[in-house]
């Protein structure tokens, strides 16, 4: 049935009913339902946003997730603890090292295993380098999404420098596979710490380029300042964490508040902002890169003073004793939690992931209503999530 007309079928009952179907015939306007995604370049993967629009203004927004669900948690149940690391470093492909680290920490805690000191400091250094890599990706891609194409080339130049160091140690550029239960896969090559420090120095020297290019750019400011303000209370209510929450003024960082690895011996400056808008989220990310470079350098200096093994000799079959444990880490994108339940087998009975991106994306439902469609892209990009990490 199209257009405006009288429902003749209704006349059988006696009284005539008038039914208006479709739009554009009267002065009445109807809201438009628009799907952004699942295949959309600005969603970094396959996130779908179901928007109700009134003209250019967003009335309501519903993030629909699950297009990239790969059943990682279920697969963990049929993989041994070394094989789990293969899967765990893939759900958030930009923070592979941090993800494998969380799994290893959970298993080590359940087994009551002591990790050699050298491994702890190396892990901390690599985790911070991984954070730099992750943040640089977003520092490049976020301006790209709102129309500034240049910063990504600068971001990738720095990424490549750090990437080379990571590849030299682990052999991988994305999925490092360098963590093992009890430490690291193997010792780093001779001279690696020196080259890593040189890379850090180089990135630190060149990073102001990226800073000058975009941080105070007038167009960038006009697009991001005051846009997509996430109040601290809302951030906490949605369980947002990491740079997104810290930009809203939630001063929470596990590296300082519940130190794991060697963070207890380092003083971790926590970067926060109070505005909670897109620009402060971007700024938190940018300033965290400087902090992480410093932390990584301090760790590397310590690594040079410690000798000894980087892993512990494991039995042929690694079995976690019966019990359960919860380990959480400050991943580049926020708090990642690993709830591990073991029944004493060589595979976990259950391994539940709490991922940062999942919680951060939930906040979109309150952030988007009321904004304009062009701002939507600015807000979406500034929430810093990886769809694989949302869907797992």
């Amino acid at each position: 049935m199209t257009g405006t007309g009288q429902d003749l079928a209704g006349s059988a009952g006696g009284a005539l009913r008038e039914v208006t179907v479709g739009t554009g015939t009267g002065l009445d306007t109807a809201d438009m339902v628009l799907n952004i995604g699942p295949q959309h370049p600005s969603t970094h993967g396959v996130l779908r946003l179901k928007l109700v629009l009134d003209g250019e203004r967003v009335r309501s927004a519903e993030p629909i997730i699950g297009y990239m669900h790969r059943g990682a948690e279920k697969l963990f149940e049929v993989r041994d603890y070394r094989q789990i690391i293969v899967l765990a470093n893939r759900h958030d492909w930009l923070s592979a090292f941090a993800n494998e680290l969380g799994v290893a920490l959970a298993v080590e805690r359940l087994m009551g295993m002591e990790v050699p000191e050298r491994a702890v400091w190396l892990r901390t250094a690599l985790a911070e380098l991984n954070r730099v890599l992750n943040h640089l990706m977003f520092l490049g891609s976020y301006p790209l999404e709102i129309g500034a194409i240049t910063p990504i080339f600068y971001a990738f130049r720095e990424r490549e420098t750090i990437q080379a160091v990571m590849e030299e140690a682990s052999g991988g550029r994305m999925h490092y596979m360098f963590n093992r239960v009890g430490g690291l896969k193997e010792e780093v090559p001779a001279g690696w710490t020196r080259r890593a420090r040189a890379a850090i120095g180089e990135v630190r020297r060149r990073l102001p380029d990226l800073d000058h290019l975009i941080r105070r750019n007038d167009i960038f400011l006009a697009r991001t300042v005051g846009v997509g303000v996430l109040p601290a209370a809302a951030a906490a209510a949605y369980g947002a964490s990491g740079p997104v929450a810290r930009a809203s003024g939630l001063d929470f960082d596990l590296r300082r508040d519940e130190p794991y690895l060697a963070y207890g011996e380092l003083s971790v400056p926590v970067v926060t902002r109070t505005a909670g808008d897109c620009h402060s989220r971007f700024e938190v990310l940018l300033d965290q890169v400087f902090v992480s470079l410093d932390l990584a350098e301090q760790c590397l200096n310590r690594v040079d003073q410690i000798s000894g093994p980087v892993n512990v000799r494991l039995p042929k079959v690694v079995k976690a004793p019966e019990g359960h444990t919860y380990a959480w880490t400050e991943n580049p994108l926020g708090v990642n939690g690993y709830y591990l339940v073991s029944r004493g087998e060589k595979t976990p009975w259950r391994m539940k992931l709490r991922t940062a991106s999942y919680s951060n994306v939930q906040a979109l439902a309150t952030l988007l209503p009321g904004c304009l469609v062009p701002d939507l892209i600015a807000i979406l990009g500034s929430m810093f999530f990886v769809v694989g990490d949302v869907d797992k």
Partner: protein, 171 residues
């Protein structure tokens, strides 16, 4: 306007200054097909098989998280002069890795007790058809020639287990 920098246009000018500075520097681009990339020895490009070392014990195939290694073998009897009974010897009929499934985790290489599998930084084996990525033992053996020597370990850490074993044998 909200968020504008102190003097309008200063942010833009700073950005343009960066661009100008970068213009005078050498480019970071590598001319890839003409210039080979300089990859570290640990780089995980492809898995090579040192067929002579393989005993077809199937450990790699069993440890692989997505079962992308296919092994067929049979036993052969070898009559050694002077021995009371003929010996049994495993013969490898097929060793194939499906690189369309492989997740490049390296567990097979770690699991191999006979040092028959190695990482090679070789990466130029893209194919137009996904089925062509299933590579048999002849190709895997050829890649053995591209395997570099492993890098020396950091002197602060423990030496590689091969080094430790060699030192123990000498004493």
């Amino acid at each position: 306007m909200v968020g504008m920098s102190e003097v309008p246009g200063v942010g833009l000018a700073k950005g343009l200054a960066v661009t100008l500075k970068t213009m005078t520097r050498r480019s970071h681009t590598h001319q890839y097909p003409d210039v080979e990339p300089d990859l570290p020895p640990r780089s995980r490009g492809v898995i090579a098989l040192f067929e002579e070392n393989c005993t077809s014990c199937m450990l790699c195939a069993r440890e692989c998280p997505d079962w992308c290694i296919y092994i067929d073998s049979h036993k052969e009897e070898v009559v050694l002069p002077g021995a009371a009974r003929p010996r049994q010897r495993p013969v490898l009929d097929r060793f194939a890795i499906d690189f369309s499934l492989c997740m490049y985790c390296g567990i097979c290489i770690e699991a191999c007790p006979f040092d028959a599998l190695y990482w090679s930084p070789e990466f130029e084996y893209a194919e137009y058809d996904i089925r062509e990525l299933l590579h048999e033992k002849e190709t895997l053996r050829e890649w053995m020639w591209t395997v570099p020597a492993p890098p020396a370990h950091d002197p602060n850490g423990e030496p590689a287990k091969e080094q430790a074993a060699a030192a123990a044998r000498q004493t």
